[in-house]
């Protein structure tokens, strides 16, 4: 029987720096360790003693690609602590910030990280420009990314570490010319999105297993900021109960030993959102996709790629509708005096549910904070899935390169973000 160790020091085509250790004994996987290969930067320690309102910009630096999601989660936590209710326009601008983020971030993952595995190339830039389809994909990928980047820049000031969203509102508002240009770019990118969706719909990669899904699901329409946290079994954890959910379910789960958690595995991300809320997608998206949406709910992790492609279309349709109909007006930022409180902010980041919690004193100074990232929640699922995958593969192959490639493909489907997770993934030790 097969006995070997497989070590991957630094995975490629994922966000940040991830490693993996797998030990196989007599054909059985003894352990899988999805590893931190990055050095801690101690953000949840650094926030202690800082003024509450400085946290969104500080914690944005946890992760470049997810930065705008961290900013919005952080702002929400601060606003809950300060008892600030944002205006309807602020909520709309935040929705648009999320649209821009999802369009550019999902496109980065689908074209630059995942598509090379389908085409059998090492890199997206290696696609053959003499092959009409590959040439088209190259153009499409960068066009969609650029449209999302433009939208994020127009609404939030930057697509990385956004400047305009602050606690209590926005400091800058989209202008007519920028809005027109954004609409044109988003509409021009739509045919590219419609070419992307069949690529992941028809992709035959598959890894199916039973797990639970969790996401923040809005009341009436698909979104990433408001709503209740649900697993699709009828319960609805509302905003006022975020703290108890975070402390009683999410924290124990994300710190659990992979094989001894009490609540059963769950995963977060685009697949979870689509599984739980596909009926709330933008009407235009639903109309365009037709029977493609019948593929959800799905327990196949590779369907997460299709879910991301669907979300790109939704974000594009939603953003175009809002930009064409809403009239933006300058508004003052809402300010309130600090009070002793605990604030929890929850958003759906591109990779799943993201929690920020701060305890603040009456002087407005932060005493303590907690950040729980999507990849921290998905870690248990990732490790369990790799163990099953490797045991399945060993039935037909012992080629380590092949096994390694299949593992990387699976991990990429989860779209893990190690810049985020480096600071929060639980640490496991050899022999433990």
């Amino acid at each position: 029987m097969h006995t070997f160790d497989l070590t991957m020091d630094r995975m490629t085509k994922v966000e940040g720096s991830a490693g993996l250790e797998v030990r196989v004994k007599d054909g059985k996987v003894e352990y899988v360790k999805f590893k931190i290969t990055e050095y801690k930067r101690f953000f949840t320690k650094a926030l202690e003693g800082k003024p509450l309102i400085t946290l969104p910009q500080l914690l944005s630096r946890i992760c470049g690609t997810c930065s705008n999601a961290h900013i919005l989660a952080s702002i929400e936590a601060c606003e809950h602590a300060l008892d600030i209710e944002p205006t309807p326009q602020t909520k709309i601008l935040r929705d648009l910030t999320m649209d821009g983020l999802n369009i550019r971030d999902h496109a980065l993952h689908l074209y630059l990280f995942s598509m090379p595995d389908i085409v059998g190339k090492d890199a997206f830039l290696d696609f053959d420009e003499n092959d009409p389809w590959q040439h088209q994909m190259l153009h499409d990928g960068f066009e969609i990314k650029a449209a999302g980047n433009f939208l994020a820049t127009l609404v939030a000031g930057r697509s990385v570490h956004a400047l305009y969203p602050v606690v209590g509102g926005f400091t800058h508002f989209p202008d007519e010319k920028g809005i027109e240009e954004a609409i044109a770019k988003l509409k021009a990118a739509k045919p590219a999105v419609l070419r992307l969706i069949p690529v992941f719909k028809d992709c035959t990669f598959s890894f199916d297993r039973k797990t639970n899904f969790m996401a923040l699901v809005p009341k009436d329409k698909y979104g990433f900021i408001d709503g209740c946290i649900t697993t699709g079994t009828g319960e609805c954890i509302k905003e006022e109960d975020y703290r108890s959910h975070l402390e009683h379910v999410v924290l124990p789960y994300s710190q659990a030993s992979a094989y001894k958690h009490e609540h059963g595995s769950y995963m977060v991300g685009a697949l979870a959102r689509l599984n739980l809320a596909k009926h709330m997608l933008h009407p235009e998206t639903i109309k365009t996709l037709g029977t493609t949406l019948d593929m959800f709910p799905s327990t196949d992790i590779f369907r997460s790629n299709l879910a991301q492609a669907v979300e790109i279309l939704h974000c594009l349709d939603h953003a175009v509708e809002v930009l064409e109909t809403y009239k933006f007006k300058p508004e003052a930022v809402i300010k309130k005096s600090p009070r002793e409180a605990v604030g929890v902010g929850v958003v759906e980041a591109p990779r799943g549910t993201l929690y920020h919690m701060y305890k603040v004193g009456s002087d407005g100074v932060v005493k303590q904070g907690e950040v729980i990232v999507p990849t921290g929640q998905n870690q248990i699922n990732i490790e369990e899935d790799i163990a099953t995958l490797v045991e399945n593969l060993l039935q037909t192959t012992t080629d380590k390169d092949q096994i390694q490639f299949e593992i990387e493909k699976l991990i990429r489907a989860y779209d893990p973000c190690m810049s985020c997770a480096a600071h929060f993934l639980k640490i496991k030790w050899k022999g433990v």
Binding site: T12, Y39, A46, G64, L108, L125, L138, F142, K145, S159
Partner: protein, 164 residues
């Protein structure tokens, strides 16, 4: 020789990789021209088969947090004609190095982690470890300064490629 593609490496140390994201966003407008003039030899965000042999330009983001980082950075320096520090963590060591400014009490609470990961007592900026030929400041790096530095390097290393 003069018309050979410019060999590029992109390396990330301790940081949030925001410069990598800015770099991939700049690619939206520049990928056609970069595909013609750059040979991306080592860029983990773009490809799996990465080679560290002789580079024309190495871009370094992130601060240096361990001896292992410092060793790797010296190896890259030794193999690169030009080395460019990109973004605040590489250029000034912050915010990745925020623990350098922790209080005594905060330091006590993290010292077991510093020891466990064999991290350096103080996080360093890139120029603390190797000679740096150019710096692109900003958090994230400023796109226009990055582009003008890239254009300057192309003009210096392969003037014939500018017409492409």
């Amino acid at each position: 020789m003069d018309s050979e593609k410019i060999k590029i490496g992109w390396f990330s140390f301790s940081c949030c990789e925001d410069n990598t994201v800015v770099f991939t966003e700049l690619m939206n407008d520049h990928w056609r021209e970069w595909k013609k003039i750059f040979d991306f030899r080592h860029a983990r965000v773009l490809k799996s088969k990465n080679i560290l042999d002789e580079l024309d330009v190495a871009f370094i983001e992130g601060a240096i947090a361990s001896d292992e980082h410092a060793e790797k950075l010296r190896e890259i320096r030794g193999k690169s004609k030009k080395l460019v520090a990109v973004g605040a963590c590489a250029v000034v060591g912050m915010p990745a190095g925020q623990r350098n400014y922790f209080s005594e009490e905060q330091n006590k609470e993290i010292e077991f982690l510093i020891a466990r990961f064999s991290a350096l007592p103080k996080v360093m900026k890139v120029s603390d470890v190797v000679k740096v030929d150019a710096e692109i400041p900003g958090c994230p790096m400023e796109p226009d300064k990055f582009l003008s530095a890239v254009n300057g390097l192309v003009a210096e290393l392969r003037p014939s490629l500018i017409q492409v």
